[in-house]
Subunit: 354 residues, 4 copies
Amino acid sequence: MAGNTYGTLFKLTTFGESHGKAIGGIIDGCPAGLELDFEAIQKELERRKPGQSKIVTQRKEPDTVDFLSGIFEGTTTGTPIGFEIVNTNQKSKDYSHIKDTYRPSHADYTYDQKYGTRDYRGGGRSSARETASRVVAGAIAKQFLKDIKIHSYTSSVGELEMDIPYKDLDFSKIDSNDVRCPDDAFAKAFIDRIKEIRKEGDTIGGVITCVIQNVPVGLGEPVFDKLHAELGKAMLSINAVKGFEYGSGFEGAKMKGSDHNDIFNADGSTKTNLSGGVQGGISNGMDIYFKVAFKPVATIMQKQETIDANGNVVEMQGKGRHDPCVVPRAVPIVDAMAALVIADFMLRDKSIKL
Amino acid sequence: MAGNTYGTLFKLTTFGESHGKAIGGIIDGCPAGLELDFEAIQKELERRKPGQSKIVTQRKEPDTVDFLSGIFEGTTTGTPIGFEIVNTNQKSKDYSHIKDTYRPSHADYTYDQKYGTRDYRGGGRSSARETASRVVAGAIAKQFLKDIKIHSYTSSVGELEMDIPYKDLDFSKIDSNDVRCPDDAFAKAFIDRIKEIRKEGDTIGGVITCVIQNVPVGLGEPVFDKLHAELGKAMLSINAVKGFEYGSGFEGAKMKGSDHNDIFNADGSTKTNLSGGVQGGISNGMDIYFKVAFKPVATIMQKQETIDANGNVVEMQGKGRHDPCVVPRAVPIVDAMAALVIADFMLRDKSIKL
Amino acid sequence: MAGNTYGTLFKLTTFGESHGKAIGGIIDGCPAGLELDFEAIQKELERRKPGQSKIVTQRKEPDTVDFLSGIFEGTTTGTPIGFEIVNTNQKSKDYSHIKDTYRPSHADYTYDQKYGTRDYRGGGRSSARETASRVVAGAIAKQFLKDIKIHSYTSSVGELEMDIPYKDLDFSKIDSNDVRCPDDAFAKAFIDRIKEIRKEGDTIGGVITCVIQNVPVGLGEPVFDKLHAELGKAMLSINAVKGFEYGSGFEGAKMKGSDHNDIFNADGSTKTNLSGGVQGGISNGMDIYFKVAFKPVATIMQKQETIDANGNVVEMQGKGRHDPCVVPRAVPIVDAMAALVIADFMLRDKSIKL
Amino acid sequence: MAGNTYGTLFKLTTFGESHGKAIGGIIDGCPAGLELDFEAIQKELERRKPGQSKIVTQRKEPDTVDFLSGIFEGTTTGTPIGFEIVNTNQKSKDYSHIKDTYRPSHADYTYDQKYGTRDYRGGGRSSARETASRVVAGAIAKQFLKDIKIHSYTSSVGELEMDIPYKDLDFSKIDSNDVRCPDDAFAKAFIDRIKEIRKEGDTIGGVITCVIQNVPVGLGEPVFDKLHAELGKAMLSINAVKGFEYGSGFEGAKMKGSDHNDIFNADGSTKTNLSGGVQGGISNGMDIYFKVAFKPVATIMQKQETIDANGNVVEMQGKGRHDPCVVPRAVPIVDAMAALVIADFMLRDKSIKL
């Protein structure tokens, strides 16, 4: 159980290091007969890609996915979908400065301790580059989900918090700006803040909100595999995530039952939705919504003290091109993981209509 | 994948409804040769038990666990440990008033929709009674973990938040009061608040903090089964949980990298611990700590509008004895799930010494 | 992955030792809404029960199953079905003579070596008593399978082999005799042979043939979880099984392709069925049939040399009441495992109609 | 659970169709620090490769494996090992004659029925080409297993059966002839028989025997995941396999207990080994041995009647270059699957020393 697989029936296994030959994965369990829109898949990759805008890392990687199996004449066959994204810049960079040094708040130290070895180039397996494979699989899951729509967007950057309820947002505007916030004013503020931080050679955290609409009633498997528990796990498995809350979340912990309970309408829908679309771990047909907290990127362009593999204290400074804020590029990753979770639950319960 | 199993190598499968004959479970994968302290197991059950104090439900259930297999002359044999807790008060209560009615913010509606049927007595499978089985398994996992210590405690009740860092708390005082808060003053405030709420016939949410100490370096399996991702899933699988954050959590999303990074000491430990003991999904040997948000109990002693199975609007009011705040009794459940997560990871990586 | 679970979506986990308090299990994933015929379940247990006839062990055990959860008003609810069979004669027997002795061709030695300890009473977990739990789950699986019919029967005892093709047998006669062979003449010969062997204080092996009818096309998941591969695993997991073959089996290895190929009829059925109802790991709608070889019971009523835990050579002799031939009582176990395999595949492929 | 993964801790997932871009897989769970012998891996592929001798198919495929991840400077890192084998002749062949025709005793019909579509070129996913990925993973598993040695060899071709006990064979001679039989005389007879059959435009079945030596005591997880049950499943998952038996096998079913029991030596080894190295599903330290029966290849160079997708009866004849007997090329596949099974069990039990 080495942990490189997500899902049980719609199952993704990924492989690949940041600076190896390629990254990629196998999607096992995608139903046969799904006519794929390859442009839509590539478009999701573009949303995650480095170098896409001024507020993200300026590295250039083409990130073109190559499908190797499981698709015949454009349609899934029910057999495993193997795919890869070749790492074009794998040899270009010099990582010798971190070969024997543990970057603070990176996984260098823990990988070395766990495995007794590591591919130090660009973070190796611990690099967020791995998430490109998730985006590919998530894009296919999205197509499988048809009418179920997933909308992730940036809702906070640092201390700046967008206080607009999702109901009042126009999701079609999410990609209208570089930070992926559907509100123009907040988008501008977020972008300004990220630029400011970048100038300081620093980084900053943020929050992504995700809304899932048109979910059928009945998704989720109590008691351990509750719908929101799997969503939580999937989100927490994304690099740099520190927290997950759904529905009322941590605010809900401050409330009284008389204020928190969602009163039913006659059709089974609820007047409010503090439950976040899930009751007892099972979707109730209301919108599912949750928040995902991302820490600031650990690599900063400032000098920091750290240690090397021999325990000597050394000084280091981030080199190259790094993201000042991970959130804009993480939006499609949250989308992807949400799609994988929902797709998996669609297959797990045979009584749910596809 | 019907969701009633947690873990991969240290594996718990539970069964049982609130008012069926019994609840219980099977622990598969507990290593052989563990001499069990049965009193310690029963003591954990007492901590979760209804009727234990004035601020929890006054229902009386003996909650005595009966082990059926996997233990020979007091020691585990490596074979599955079957156990059960007989439901003594299974027939005593009248639940006919909820037979055809969906309680707001309960799982009545979603179970009916998913399964086409439900055992409505006391919530059936969706009742938190199921967690007693988790407490039994967690108590055994705790004994397996030996020097790894897990300390959960109430850190918020409603809007009252204990702002004392865990380093300044005396964990030995957790059970010195009914609300399971190791600080006397906050404990008193929390208890007063719960009593107040109970008088109103209302309920209130709260937060539990958990600290895990003496964790070896190397636990956790990237990329999907990161240590904190599994902790998150395990916690979110507990009834009434709305959020999970570890280390700096949602606050971390507001910070800059230069403030958030944990600088190493020469021995690999870190000067700060905003990472919460986990880097890249792998334990780094520092304390693991996280927070779990619980919503207010949905059953309130006030009149509420709801619907019946035919969609008619009806009025209902909670009957019987319910918890005004779930948090005091949830402390041992958080303990148990944390123990199960850690025990599982101890077995998943063969390079970790037991 | 301690191995006490069979199945992925229709999942059985068992617990229990031969002389512990109880054996039992949890069935997770049985769909909701199945009205159970409890008499039919108990009847399958009677078929496996000791003491049922003169050619099996004369031990008396009531083997009454008690359902603890997952069933409400006689119908499955979709939640886990917990059940137990109390071991009534758990304390009555004296097993001190094998406490420190390894019985030849038993699991005493391997359990001790693997776990460092064992419950030696009656073989503990390695006893075939565990299969009673499988029979309970299999009986429920059978009811879930409705029109799919499973017919297992004794086809060999020792060197006596029934050479009648299954097409010429009347399955309704399987239970008309003690050895569970649908042909009167062979049944008599088999019974006579077993009686003879018992008189010698010896035991003998045998073969069970199983035929599954009315299987829909499409069951089975290539490439590793082929339908016949799972059937093989399930059968080989039964105590005392030494071999499995389906369709033409080992005889097929002697044949030419021109003789072995099954030629199609216009409707997709085949004129012959050397394939045994499975092509490429997927059911083709023809009858599935296979054979399972059982070794002779290891406990014999004759003196044998063996060793104790200290490596001393000692003499031992079987005591008590043991089966001279395991096959008659293994018939319902083969039935049960076949039912579990088919039920699981019915749920794994969402395109298969229930 | 779409079935393209084998193993739980040493886990192989494969992808790829016979005439797609590439086949390959991901090995997840291979421990870090294993220095790989890449020549040894390629050599195993050569043993499975078409065109290697006069008694196998004369197709030419280079079958060169390309590793994409999980290996750094020649040593495994503990992260997933992605690999691929490019299909060089993917476009060269004309398969239009089978596009709408179901070949007898092939998986064409069942794939079409299950998935509603199929990649008909060369059998697509159902082609034994997939097993090249298993050979790669198995070759790595073998290196992980160090002193545990696996020896598979051809023991029967058609009705010709080699009656020499494995103890009397020199395993170093297995690859000294084209049919992979360690006895010169039988090798010659087998080869002659295959040549004869090929001239007839026919095919023939055969049997492979596998012996595993130096297995530690304690491998295998009762009750469902017995060592021999997993071996059986793994073998039955190989294309064309019809039967599996271990130790005394089907012959054991004819024996008496007094003849079948393996009497212990003082050191825990046994004087005989009818048990085949496994007691109660757990290895006992003796040699493990088993037999695997392969049916004759379904594609023959003779005219056969069959049906097309519309149910019309048509005539067809195999084209191109096919194996007259699958057994010589299946030897490395049996080796590979055996290695994967043993490697997985080595990791599943933490008390087994690596």
